[in-house]
């Protein structure tokens, strides 16, 4: 009988762990309780937090280039089929955010528009939706140092993208879902073509079209549209819970199915290690999920994995932070165990919780204490669940792959 691995969490880290464990011939069960950070993130994929990468490049006066991806990370990305990862050493991708910033990214969801290769005019269609003021966004993006250095110009243009009046007020995911419907892509292409034709006589020679985060939930819509219009079309990066997260979930489910992984939907509440076996209790299920080793990939504070507990909640008052499942591992910040209780309910967060230009915030650093991938005998941890690792997508993948192998 092959060794069996139990994985808690189906974000990027858990998925990557499942991927490498299956590749190594193990049988795998993933237990997961719904959306985590991966499913909420808007689609930029970094190896190190982009602000850090950008400021390091600035200090060293070197251009920001894509750092090489490990072979197994590239293979995983390929199997997931969701991202545009570019060539090692090439310029990093540049993504426009709906907040008006143009930021670098190592890789990205394929529906997002990469501005790094575009020169000339980017059309920003006007759409009567809150938070999408094409004129203000075009002005803000256009004024960014990147756009100025690259000679990129942003041009707001009239385009009747909404099909019904009711679409002004619906949520972004709903609008995105509508772009998956039947002939909607044709319709959108026709409207954009009209807009381009209207702008051409005004001397606007468009190189790309930048849309809000509502291009669709199904995978490469942007590519189909780009092919049809003969120029790059893509989305701007949206906020928490935009379409990119749903695209991830769809791609993940396809990958898990093709890998032949058992999936248990439910919240793990307790993890026990008995000799060489691990046993996981899942809320509401009578059978334990058992295996030879376990990977904790239940996300960071953000993922819902770690609960900030304290004096106010007597049942959890023991520790300032607690893992959402009861497991025999230590939590740490900066390599030091967190068992202090000082401020309102836990460590003194007043000054340290949020990041500053020089340092990461405490909430980004708290997690399972690990030596490599190993957290305790029989238990590995990966992704945002681990203390003091960068909270990035590619870090979660790399750590997941390693944990899957080690487990």
């Amino acid at each position: 009988m092959s060794r069996s691995i139990v994985i808690v969490g189906a974000g990027l880290a858990g998925l990557a762990a499942a991927f490498s464990a299956r590749r190594a011939g193990r049988s795998v069960t993933v237990v997961s309780a719904g959306a985590g950070a991966t499913a909420l993130a808007p689609g930029a994929v970094d190896d190190v937090p982009w602000e850090r990468a950008a400021s390091a490049a600035r200090v060293a006066r070197v251009p920001l280039v894509r750092r090489p991806l490990a072979v197994d990370v590239a293979a995983f990305a390929d199997a997931l089929g969701l991202w545009s990862i570019g060539d090692d050493g090439a310029d990093v991708a540049r993504i426009a955010t709906v907040a008006g910033v143009i930021r670098p990214a190592r890789a990205h969801d394929r529906a997002l528009l990469d501005l790094s290769t575009i020169r000339g005019v980017v059309i920003v269609p006007r759409a009567p939706r809150a938070a999408w003021d094409a004129d203000a966004l075009a002005a803000t993006w256009g004024a960014s140092p990147f756009a100025r250095a690259q000679g990129l110009r942003f041009h707001a243009a009239e385009a009747a993208l909404l099909r019904h009046k009711g679409e002004r007020g619906i949520g972004e995911l709903d609008l995105a879902a509508r772009h998956d419907e039947g002939d909607r892509l044709d319709w959108l292409a026709a409207r954009l073509r009209e807009a381009l034709v209207r702008e051409a006589p005004r001397g606007v020679d468009a190189a790309a079209v930048l849309l809000g985060p509502w291009l669709g939930l199904a995978a490469p819509r942007a590519e189909a549209l780009s092919a049809r219009l003969g120029l790059s079309v893509g989305e701007a990066l949206g906020g928490v819970g935009s379409a990119a997260g749903l695209r991830f979930e769809a791609a993940r489910d396809r990958l898990l199915a093709s890998l032949g992984v058992d999936v248990v939907v439910g919240r793990a509440t307790r993890l026990e290690v008995e000799g060489a076996r691990v046993a996981l209790t899942v809320h509401g299920k009578s059978d334990l999920v058992v295996g030879d080793a376990c990977v904790i990939a239940c996300g960071g504070v953000a993922g819902g994995g770690i609960v900030y507990a304290g004096a106010g909640a007597p049942d959890r008052a023991r520790a300032a932070f607690a893992l959402s499942l009861d497991a025999p591992v230590d939590l740490a910040i900066g390599g030091v165990r967190v068992d202090v209780t000082s401020s309102l309910n836990g460590p003194d967060l007043d000054e340290t919780a949020w990041p500053t230009p020089g340092a990461e915030g405490a909430l980004e650093r708290v997690g399972v204490r690990c030596d490599g991938a190993r957290a305790a005998p029989g238990i590995c941890a990966a992704g945002a669940a681990v203390a003091d690792r960068p909270r990035t997508a590619l870090e979660a993948v790399a750590a997941g792959l390693r944990a899957g192998r080690e487990a």
């Binding site: 950070a37 400021s55 251009p63 008006g100 203000a136 140092p145 928490v240 932070f321 919780a353």
Partner: protein, 553 residues
Amino acid sequence: MDVVVLGGGVNGTGVARDASMRGLKVALFERNDLAFGASGNSSGMIHGGPRYLVYDPAVTATSCRDSGNIQAIAPHLLFRIPFLMPVADRGPKMRIFFDLLDGFFEAYDQYQPLKRGKPHARLSQAEVRELEPGLTGDLVGAMSFDEWGIDGARLCVANAVDARERGASVRVGCTVTAIDRRPDGAVEAVRFRDRVTGEVGRLTTKVVVNATGAWAPLTASLGGLAPERARVRPGKGIHVLFDRRLTNYAISAFAIDGRQMFLLPWENLTVLGTTDDDYYGDLDHVRATSEEVRYLVESIARVFPSIHGARAIGTFAGVRPTLYAYGPIEEALSREHEIIDHAEHGAPGLYSMVGGKLASYRLFAESMTDELARVFRLPGRCATHTTALPGGDEAADPFAMATRLGVDAVATRRLVYRHGSRSARVEDRMLARPREGVTVCACEPVLEAEVRYVLANELARSVEDVARRTRLGLGACGGMRCAARCGQIVAEELGLPPREGVAQAIRFVTKQARTRVPALGPDQARQEAIAMASARAELGIAATADEDDEEPP
């Protein structure tokens, strides 16, 4: 200028209005923003303060009387707050105390007509439980009493806007750096510096009114006086905001150390307050600490334990400029005000307004302006209690407006609350440009037209200023959804570089987060971390806006 007023709190704007109404040439300088200090961070109660009744009934009477006046000139800004004061049953002593309390409130009832309040009621334990099921423990019963609330920031803005419309010059974000005096000691001019543009200037004037609240001693020293000449006791107070209405009534309770405190449903939120501690830190950066938050939460939990399960979404803090008196314990300090004529310190023409309360600002401003009238030999009398503040002249119907505009009535109700009859001006914008009918901040909610209106007409210069005037970004989302959009609008309306809008959004989001973290409770850390990740992904919180995506040279 005849008069230069320093400070855009309720006292400074109140004097600027009164003096302008009486025909003086007035300039007001505000270092940060209108209502930046105590006035925008108070508990917002226009009360006579029953707690002053015992040792200082004069404060109670003046405050109650002027509460009635403020209701008359700004009816849109006031809202009734019915309070419950539960009394725990801890033996016969408490039952005697309950009877005493009854008598006390009977005395307070005398003042209620002055402010259109209802007389108190003595409630049994069963009645209390029915009204407020969340109150636990054995109770002797509870007293009910009536107070009024106000949005202090709106009150300052209304006074400043009115002063301006009557000819005053009002400069925000502009700090006075020196008060120049002639060789004979008399006031001659003020020097100022715009903290955004760096512009400096000098303005000659006959009189300077120092209405800088807790900053008053520092301000006095700008005129070469010893700071003690305008001494105040800086009493820091904090509030915790929760994401929903936790109770039906406001609850008045006693803290662990016997101080009085309250839990107050406020629009769609709940406010828990407040503390009173000596504060000698930086007045431009007053923030709640987790120690203070814990003190309040643990205190109210004794009567309202489910507070532990509530979600705190932020804190706000201010420093009271309390009259200085040597030695007494903090709670017993009087809130009465005093006008200091610095002629007695060799500086004729310089006055300091110290102490005071939101509730009695108008009276305080009236006394100050009476003094100015004497100096300038003006015939006119004070009319600030009979002349409506902007928006206070007529009632507006939020429901009819919602129908006319096709927007949510929740949004128009807030709009009418903040602007009174002047909400019609915001409506006109929307009718002329329907695009401005979109919601910028969904939590509160705030419409784009209002954001543009306050930038064009209410002296707002930044995302933070807009938030102070409209409550944009102060709800459950902490500005995550709306700060960037608001920054774009600020840049557009004020003709700033678009990147400045992004920089302001980053500053606002970070500042809001700093007020939130001291109150982070169980289960809220994840929301916070998601907010952090999201701010990082979209804006880049740990980079400065000018550099975030700059190419190497």
